[in-house]
């Protein structure tokens, strides 16, 4: 295996609705910053991979517009995934492993605000048995929360703690986040029920935003920056599509991905978990064996800013910042997508020091 590192990360200030910019204009400052950080241009990149979805943009091959913004002439080697940018990063990591390239550029973005997000997300469900019912993403999460609460693997109190802590940590640590405030778990519990037993604060915000990461292999990584953050292990797994086939109180694919990525919980000093809903964090902690006193989501996580297709890549980027700054030595970054934590990616990141 080649040693591959994150050598640069940039993200936008995520907002409820970026109405004054189109997707290209929203993305460009972020991709520019990621390259400028290490003084390179697109011509120095061996492979480019992006993550976004036409379902949010509302037109076919929407990623071609943003690719045009990156500057694909003279021709570049590129790919796109209709998935969170974390999976674009995985594809770039594989490309680096082949030895064909020494550098890769990964970015993702979305304007989640463009349509009725919860309803747009219903289009990812089984198109025959569930899609026609318009089970929206909040209703879907509420069903999973119901199963987990009934099984006693989560409590509403613990969910409220996650909801409150995430926005509080964003206020303290993350200027890029959208929801940054200090509100107590008791205040969350006092909110009326929103959908099922979810309070509004148990749900993520709707966010528009973008993120970009530069990867480099071996010595090239050390040339490009003083403190590369090495990807020591990375794996992604998927649970079955049918919601009612799955045990929604557990996340087997996250557990398997963590195991295959080489996660040893006791050796991890902080975690960035992509948990859009408050119960998601509790289910992921349980599935991956995160210790009770572990530092989880210093950034505030997806409950503080949740640009679709991007919040997973941001977890990897946030972890790289926390390691390159010296705050942590070895971290786990996790990304999810699909309904109710169906698909999960886990990476172990480590600094040089």
């Amino acid at each position: 295996m080649r040693d591959v590192a994150i050598v640069s990360f940039a993200q936008s200030h995520h907002r409820r609705a970026v109405e004054d910019l189109n997707e290209v204009e929203m993305l460009m400052p972020v991709t520019r910053e990621a390259l400028d950080n290490i003084g390179i241009g697109i011509g120095d990149i061996g492979f480019t991979c992006s993550g976004s979805t036409d379902y949010l943009a509302g037109n076919a091959f929407s990623f071609v517009s943003t690719l045009d913004g990156i500057g694909p002439w003279p021709p570049i080697s590129e790919s796109h995934v209709e998935m969170d940018g974390a999976w674009a990063l995985y594809e770039a990591w594989v490309k680096l492993q082949t030895g064909a390239v020494d550098t890769a550029f990964v970015y993702s973005y979305s304007k989640s605000s463009s349509g009725d997000l919860a309803m747009v997300m219903s289009r990812q469900l089984d198109p025959y048995a569930v899609g026609p019912l318009w089970l929206d993403s909040v209703g879907c999460a509420a069903l999973a929360a119901s199963a987990a609460l009934d099984a006693g693997v989560v409590t509403r109190e613990a969910m409220a703690e996650v909801a409150a802590r995430s926005r509080r940590d964003a206020l303290a640590n993350n200027e890029y986040a959208q929801l940054r405030f200090d509100r107590t778990a008791a205040a969350v519990l006092a909110e009326p029920d929103h959908v099922g037993l979810l309070h509004r604060s148990d749900c993520p915000p709707i966010s528009d935003g973008a993120a970009a990461i530069v990867l480099a292999a071996g010595d090239r990584a050390r040339e490009l920056c003083d403190n590369p953050v090495w990807i020591r292990g990375i794996d992604h797994r998927i649970d079955p599509m049918a919601l009612g086939y799955r045990d929604l109180t557990d996340v087997p694919s996250a557990r398997l991905a963590a195991s295959r990525a080489g996660v040893v919980p006791a050796e991890i000093d902080a975690w960035e978990l992509h948990a859009p809903f408050s119960h998601d964090e509790l289910l992921l902690r349980r599935a991956m064996g995160v210790p009770d006193d572990a530092v989880v989501n210093r950034s505030g996580g997806a409950l503080a800013a949740n640009p679709m297709l991007t919040a997973g890549l941001i977890r990897i980027g946030e972890a790289s910042w926390q390691i390159s700054s010296g705050e942590s030595e070895r971290m786990v970054a996790h990304a999810t997508q699909g309904p109710a934590l169906q698909q999960n990616l886990v990476a172990v990141l480590e600094g040089d020091r």
Partner: protein
């Protein structure tokens, strides 16, 4: 700000095949079917491949019509596209004879009338077309 409506359509059709097609055709006849998985468990709605072993699945089994709620979530403000125009519960429902649950809605009247463990039964539409909406909703089973 310039705004314009955008309507996205995917105007193509496909056949549903022997498994999904059997489920949808069954709905038209007010019959609920599942399929036996590689481990012998009955999966409803039926799926073409075993999620664990990827084997072709072919053995259809009649299930229901009643079942038990395994998860539920009350919706106080339904969207116009959702099955009912008044408050309802999303539910995962394990039909009698099935080992997995299916998604539908329950016209429960109020959130305190439904919980995990509640027994429900389908309310069929008079005009059925072979789609999941042939079940208008589930209702709480009358206790005798």
């Amino acid at each position: 700000m310039l705004r314009a409506p955008l309507v996205i359509e995917y105007p193509f059709e496909r056949t549903t095949g022997p498994v999904v097609g059997a489920f949808l055709t069954g709905l038209r006849e007010r019959i609920l079917v599942g399929i036996t998985g590689a481990d012998g468990r009955v999966i409803v709605p039926p799926i073409e491949y075993d999620p664990v072993t990827a084997e072709d699945l072919t053995e259809l089994v009649e299930v229901g019509p009643g079942g038990v709620v395994t998860a539920c979530a009350w919706v106080a403000r339904p969207d116009a596209r959702q099955p009912l125009d008044h408050p309802f519960a999303w539910a995962l429902i394990r039909l009698d004879g099935a080992d997995t649950a299916m998604v539908h809605v329950v016209d429960a009247g109020s959130p305190d009338r439904i919980a995990v463990g509640t027994r429900v039964t389908p309310r069929w539409r008079d005009e059925r077309v072979g789609a999941i909406g042939d079940i208008e909703c589930f209702v709480i089973e009358e206790t005798s």
